[in-house]
């Protein structure tokens, strides 16, 4: 079974803090994705990566950056957290060449105070 794990289920941070959300997958997938999910807005793509050190912007990249130093690990970074970044963050992965289901992690509920 594919397993996508996220470092924390719940996280509380203060405005202005630098926040790291970590995601690890154990199935040697090339592609990894970060989404955020908000009531009334649904799931929105922040960034994705198709290889180590490669990244592409999604729908809402502003205020975020990402890092992919190893194939199995994809980090989402909030350089200076703001209250409007309070959300559920979901990581996903899949194999190379696009047309394939995405496997999601359990999510990290981030609250920025």
């Amino acid at each position: 079974d594919v397993k996508v794990t996220q470092s924390s289920r719940y996280l509380v941070k203060r405005t202005g803090e630098k926040v790291f959300l970590e995601c690890v997958q154990d199935m040697d997938h090339e592609n990894m994705f970060w989404y955020r999910q908000d009531p009334g807005l649904g799931l929105r793509l922040i960034y994705f990566s198709y290889d180590v050190k490669m990244k592409e912007k999604g729908d809402i990249p502003e205020g975020y950056s990402v890092s992919r130093e190893k194939k199995e690990r994809f980090s989402l970074i909030l350089e200076s957290a703001s209250t409007n970044q309070t959300s559920m963050y979901l990581c996903a992965s899949n194999i190379a060449q696009g047309v394939d289901e995405q496997f999601f992690g359990p999510g990290t509920r981030l609250t920025v105070l």
Binding site: G40, G42, L45, G58, D59, N94, A96, Q97, G98, V99
Partner: protein
Amino acid sequence: SQKIEQNSEALNIQEGKTATLTCNYTNYSPAYLQWYRQDPGRGPVFLLLIRENEKEKRKERLKVTFDTTLKQSLFHITASQPADSATYLCALNMYSGGGADGLTFGKGTHLIIQP
């Protein structure tokens, strides 16, 4: 801009009946469309994928249709059960790079199957 709409936020269906969920999109021609199920507090789980050249796809009690002229997909659950109660999401591949397809999701339909 691209837009994905799912027909309703909530849908109540009697157990044993067929549940039909709708996904409409505009300003885009996707190569494929996916359906996911999401339970409270969990990440989405993949159910079915249908390509632009396919009209219909089935998996057990699930059936998906894809009409690229109408820009619409229908998702059916036959012989529905209370365990089918969940939020169902449709998704299109709107962001591509390096062979990866980032998905754009609809807001989801919360399906409730009543015993």
